[in-house]
C-alpha cells in the first residue's frame, strides 16, 4: 500500500503545556457541584417535602445537574461547547497512551474500547451481585440479606446493569463502534464527537443504578414494574434515571452507526456486499431508534408517578398500561441483544470453515424479519394477565419468530456442512453460543404455549430460559468475537490451548448452572424469593456451586484476554485468512483506519478456487495517498471522485 506523506500543516497538534485536571476527576468534581447546586435550588423553591435536604424531586433534578456537570467536565465543555459557539479551544485530542481512554475521544476505535471497558465493568459488578444472590439461595432461609426487599433490590440492580449496560452496550456500543466502520471500509464515523460524548453516559448510568439503595430499596427487578414501584421508596428513582442515561447512550450509538453505514461505505461496498455483522448492527440500531424513546417516555411517566405524584400506572390509573408499554420495548430489547450474535455466527463460521457462506441472502432476511416480528410478540410476557382471546395472536407470532431465527441456524449449518472446519477458540465459542441459544429458543417455544406458560410463569424455568437466550447468545458470542478479533484489537494473539480450556470450563459451568434452573422451575422454585421450601435446597446448593465456577470462569477469561492483549505473541496481519475489510489494514488499525481509501470489488464471503481478493485500493487513492487527503480527518472519498467539477 502507498505510504502517506505528512506535511507540516498535518503534523499533530501539541497539547498545551499547562496541565489540565484529569478529565475524569474534573467530571466528578463538576458533577458534585452540579448536583449540589440544583438539589439546593430545588429544596429552596420547594421546601414542603418534609426532608431536610434530599427529596424525590430534588434528587431527580439534582441528578440531571450532576450528569450535565459530568459530561461538561469530562470534555464536552472544551470539545463541543466552546467551538460550537465560535470560541477558540485549547483542547487537543490525544492520539496515543492510556490517557486517551479516560477523556472524550473522536476515534471510533477508542470509543469502542471505552464502551467495552465500561460494559465489562458493569458485567463484573452485576456478576458479583449475582454471586451474592446465589450465595443467599444456597440456604432456604435468609442469610446475607436481612429483608426480602434487600434481596429484590440486588436482583433489580443485577438485571438492570446486565441488560442496559452490558448486554445492550458491549456488542453494539463496543464491538459495533470499533468494527462497523472498519468493516465497511470507512475511515471515521459521521457523528464522532457525539459518539465520544455518549459513551460517558454509561459509567454515569451504571453508578446511578448501583447506588440506588442509597435512596431506599426497590423491588421491581430490571423491569421497574408498576404499580409495585409505586410502593417503593426513592431507590426506584435512580433505576429510572440510570436507565435513561444508559439508553440515551445506546440511542447515540444507533444514530451514529446507522448514519455511518448509510454514508461512509467504501466504494463498492454495496448493500448486497455488506458484512453480516454490519447487517446485524443496522437491524438492531433501527430497533433501538424505535423503542428506546418509547421506554424512556414510559420511565418518565413512572418517575412522575413517583415524585409528583401522578396516577398513570397505579390502582386508580391503569396498572396494565405499564406492562404493555414496558414489554412493547422489552421484547425487542431481547432481540437487540441477540441479533448481533446471530450475525456474528455467520461472520465467523465461513472464515473458520474457509467455505462460502451458505444462503447469505436468507441469513440477512432472517435478521430483518426477526427485527420486524420482535415488535409483535410483547404480550406473551403477560399471558397470566390478559384475556384468553388476546393470548392467541401473541402465541402465534411468538412461535412464528422462530422461523427467521432459524435462518441464522440454516446459514451457519449449511456453511459448516462438509467443510474442513478449523475448531479454533472463537469457533468453539460460536458453536457453544449456537447450542445454548437453541436451548433458550426451544424452552421459549414451551413458554409461547399459553397452557404451559400459565404453569411455568414466575418459576425458575423462565429464569433459565432467558439466561440461555441472553448469556447463551450474546455473552458466548461476545467472547468468541473478542478471541476472533483480538489480533486486530491488540496486534497480539492467544494460545489455543488456554483459550479452548477456558471456553470448555465456561460452557459446562453455564449449562450445569442454568440447565438446572429448568428442573428447579418444574419442581416449583419461584422467582423473586430469597427464602423457599426446604426440599429445594439440595439442588439450589449445587446450582450455586456451579454458578460460582461460572463466575470464576468468566473472570478467568477476562484476565486471560487482558494478559494476551499486553503479553501475547505478535499476531499476523490476517491470522484467520478472513476477507472482510478490517483485516486489510495494520493491527491495531491506524487513526484513520486505512492508509488510503479501500475499494470493495467482490463478495466478502466467497471462498474456494477462482475467488478474488475482495478489498483493494484504487489507483486514484494510491495517488491521493501522497497528498493531504490521506491524513485529512475530513477526508471523504465522495468529495474526491474523479470527474467532480471542483477536482
Amino acid at each position: 500500500m502507498a505510504q502517506a506523506a505528512v506535511t507540516p500543516e498535518q503534523a499533530p497538534k501539541k497539547r498545551p503545556k499547562k496541565a489540565m485536571m484529569p478529565p475524569v476527576l474534573r467530571g466528578a468534581l463538576w458533577a458534585a457541584i452540579g448536583f449540589l447546586l440544583v438539589n439546593t435550588f430545588v429544596i429552596a423553591v420547594d421546601p414542603f417535602r418534609g426532608h431536610p435536604f434530599v427529596t424525590g424531586p430534588s434528587v431527580t433534578l439534582g441528578w440531571v445537574g450532576a450528569v450535565i456537570g459530568w459530561l461538561l467536565g469530562i470534555g464536552v465543555y472544551d470539545t463541543v461547547l466552546l467551538p460550537l459557539m465560535g470560541f477558540d479551544t485549547k483542547w487537543v485530542e490525544r492520539t496515543r497512551g492510556w490517557r486517551r481512554y479516560w477523556e472524550v475521544a473522536t476515534d471510533h476505535k477508542v470509543i469502542g474500547l471505552q464502551y467495552m471497558m465500561f460494559a465489562l465493568g458493569g458485567f463484573l459488578i452485576a456478576g458479583g451481585i449475582a454471586m451474592l444472590m446465589r450465595y443467599e439461595l444456597m440456604t432456604p432461609y435468609m442469610t446475607i440479606f436481612h429483608y426480602p426487599s434487600n434481596y429484590l433490590t440486588a436482583v433489580g440492580i443485577h438485571g438492570t446493569i446486565m441488560m442496559f449496560s452490558f448486554a445492550t452496550v458491549f456488542m453494539v456500543g463496543g464491538l459495533g463502534n470499533y468494527f462497523v466502520p472498519l468493516m465497511i471500509g470507512a475511515r471515521e464515523t459521521v457523528l464522532s464527537k457525539l459518539s465520544g460524548i455518549g459513551v460517558w453516559l454509561v459509567p454515569a448510568g451504571i453508578l446511578t443504578v448501583l447506588f440506588s439503595p442509597l435512596l431506599g430499596a426497590w423491588t421491581t427487578g430490571w423491569r421497574g414494574y408498576q404499580p409495585l414501584a409505586g410502593q417503593d421508596p426513592n431507590g426506584i428513582l435512580f433505576y429510572y434515571l440510570g436507565v435513561a442515561a444508559l439508553t440515551t447512550s445506546s440511542l447515540i450509538v444507533a444514530l451514529n452507526l446507522v448514519t455511518t453505514v448509510m454514508f461512509r461505505r467504501a466504494p463498492g461496498m454495496t448493500w448486497g456486499r455488506l458484512p453480516l455483522f454490519v447487517w446485524g448492527q443496522v437491524t438492531v440500531n433501527l430497533l433501538m431508534l424505535i423503542w428506546f424513546p418509547e421506554i424512556q417516555t414510559t420511565f418518565v411517566m413512572g418517575l412522575l408517578d413517583h415524585i409528583v405524584p401522578m396516577n398513570f400506572f397505579t390502582a386508580t390509573g391503569s396498572p396494565m398500561t405499564y406492562l404493555m408499554l414496558f414489554w412493547l420495548f422489552g421484547h425487542p430489547e431481547v432481540y437487540i441483544i441477540a441479533v448481533p450474535a446471530f450475525a456474528l455466527w455467520n461472520e465467523i463460521i465461513p472464515v473458520m470453515a474457509q467455505k462460502s457462506l451458505f444462503g447469505r441472502q436468507w441469513a440477512v432476511i432472517g435478521l430483518v424479519f426477526v427485527m420486524m416480528l420482535s415488535g409483535l410478540v410483547w404480550a406473551h410476557h403477560m399471558f397470566t394477565n390478559i384475556r384468553n382471546s388476546e393470548i392467541l395472536p401473541f402465541s402465534f407470532f411468538t412461535e412464528m419468530i422462530s422461523i427467521p431465527t432459524g435462518f441464522a441456524y440454516m446459514a451457519a449449518v449449511g456453511t459448516m456442512w462438509k467443510s474442513k472446519i478449523r475448531l479454533t477458540t472463537p469457533m468453539l465459542w460460536i458453536l457453544m453460543s449456537m447450542f445454548n441459544f437453541l436451548i433458550g429458543g426451544m424452552t421459549g417455544v414451551f413458554l409461547a404455549d399459553p397452557i404451559v406458560n400459565l404453569q411455568l410463569h414466575d418459576t425458575f424455568w423462565v429464569v433459565g430460559h432467558f439466561h440461555y437466550t441472553i448469556i447463551g447468545s450474546m455473552v458466548f458470542s461476545s467472547f468468541g468475537a473478542i478471541y476472533y478479533w483480538l489480533p486486530k484489537l491488540s496486534g497480539r494473539t492467544f494460545q489455543e490451548t488456554w483459550g479452548k480450556t477456558l471456553a470448555i470450563i465456561t460452557f459446562f459451568a453455564f449449562n450445569l448452572t442454568f440447565g438446572q434452573f429448568f428442573l428447579l422451575g418444574l419442581h416449583g422454585m419461584n422467582r423473586w424469593v430469597p427464602a423457599y421450601p426446604s426440599y429445594l435446597q439440595p439442588m439450589n446448593f449445587e446450582v450455586s456451586i456451579f454458578a460460582f465456577i461460572l463466575g470464576a470462569s468468566f473472570l478467568a477469561n477476562i484476565i486471560y484476554i487482558g494478559y494476551c492483549w499486553v503479553n501475547g505473541e505478535k499476531a499476523a496481519d490476517n491470522p484467520w485468512s478472513a476477507k472482510t475489510p478490517e483485516w486489510f489494514t495494520s493491527s491495531p488499525a491506524p487513526r484513520w483506519n486505512f492508509p488510503v481509501q479501500p475499494e470493495i470489488v467482490g463478495s466478502l464471503y466467497l471462498y474456494g478456487e477462482g475467488t478474488k481478493v475482495p478489498v483493494v485500493t484504487t489507483a486514484y487513492d494510491e495517488l491521493a495517498a501522497t497528498s493531504r487527503q490521506s491524513q485529512d480527518p475530513n477526508y471523504d472519498w465522495h468529495d474526491y471522485m474523479p470527474g467532480r467539477p471542483e477536482n
Binding site: 459557539m85 465560535g86 440511542l251 448514519t259 428506546f292 424513546p293 475530513n634 471523504d636 465522495h638
Partner: protein, 192 residues
C-alpha cells in the same frame, strides 16, 4: 451592530464537506423522527386514559394563540435556513433566528401563564395528561431554545461560510420539530 470576528485558521479546519453535510442532515432528521415516538406514546396514553374528553376548564383561546405563535415561529425559523442556503447572508440568518426565538419564547410564556393560572387541575385524568404532554413540550422547547441560542451566538461570533450554516440549520430543524410537536399537542389535548 456587533463586530463579527473573522474565522481563525483553527476554526476553518472544521469545515463540512458536501457529503458530510448530507450525512449529518440525515442523522438529524432520523433523530427528529425518533423523537416523534415519545409523543406518539403520550397521545396513545391520553386516548387510553381519557378518550376524547376535553376539560371545559382548558382555555381554548390560549391554546389557539400559543399554537399560532408556534406556527409563525417555525415559519420564520425556516426562513433562516432559506436565507443561508439561497443568499448565504449571515445577517439575514441571524435576524430570522432571533425573531423565531422571540416568537417561540412568547408562545412558551403564554403556556406558562395558563399553567400558572391552574385552569386545569392535575388531580384528574385529563389534567394528568395535560401537564404530562405539555411538560414534555417544555423540555423539548428548553433544548430547542438552547440550540437556537447557540446558533445565534455562533452567528454573531463566527464568519459563516455556506457549509458552516449547518449549526443554524440543525437548530432550526429541531426548533421546527418543537413547534410541530407543540401544535400536535394542542390538537390532541384541546381538540380530539
Amino acid at each position: 451592530m456587533v463586530n463579527k470576528p473573522e474565522a481563525t485558521a483553527e476554526r476553518m479546519s472544521e469545515q463540512l464537506t458536501p457529503h458530510n453535510y448530507r450525512a449529518v442532515r440525515f442523522a438529524m432528521l432520523v433523530f427528529i423522527i425518533t423523537q416523534i415516538v415519545p409523543f406518539f406514546t403520550l397521545f396513545s396514553a391520553k386516548y387510553l386514559y381519557d378518550g376524547s374528553y376535553v376539560s371545559p376548564q382548558a382555555n381554548q383561546g390560549f391554546g389557539v394563540a400559543v399554537s399560532v405563535l408556534m406556527a409563525i415561529s417555525a415559519i420564520v425559523a425556516w426562513q433562516a435556513v432559506r436565507a443561508g442556503r439561497l443568499y448565504q447572508d449571515r445577517d439575514m440568518v441571524g435576524r430570522r433566528l432571533k425573531t423565531a426565538t422571540a416568537i417561540g419564547l412568547l408562545a412558551i410564556m403564554g403556556e406558562i401563564y395558563q399553567w400558572g393560572m391552574r385552569y386545569v387541575t392535575p388531580q384528574s385524568r385529563f389534567g394528568e395528561m395535560y401537564y404530562m404532554i405539555f411538560g414534555a413540550d417544555y423540555v423539548y422547547a428548553a433544548v430547542g431554545l438552547i440550540m437556537m441560542a447557540i446558533a445565534i451566538i455562533r452567528n454573531i461570533r463566527q464568519n459563516m461560510a455556506p457549509e458552516r450554516f449547518w449549526t443554524s440549520d440543525a437548530s432550526v430543524y429541531f426548533w421546527v420539530y418543537v413547534c410541530l410537536a407543540w401544535i400536535a399537542s394542542w390538537f390532541f389535548v384541546y381538540i380530539i
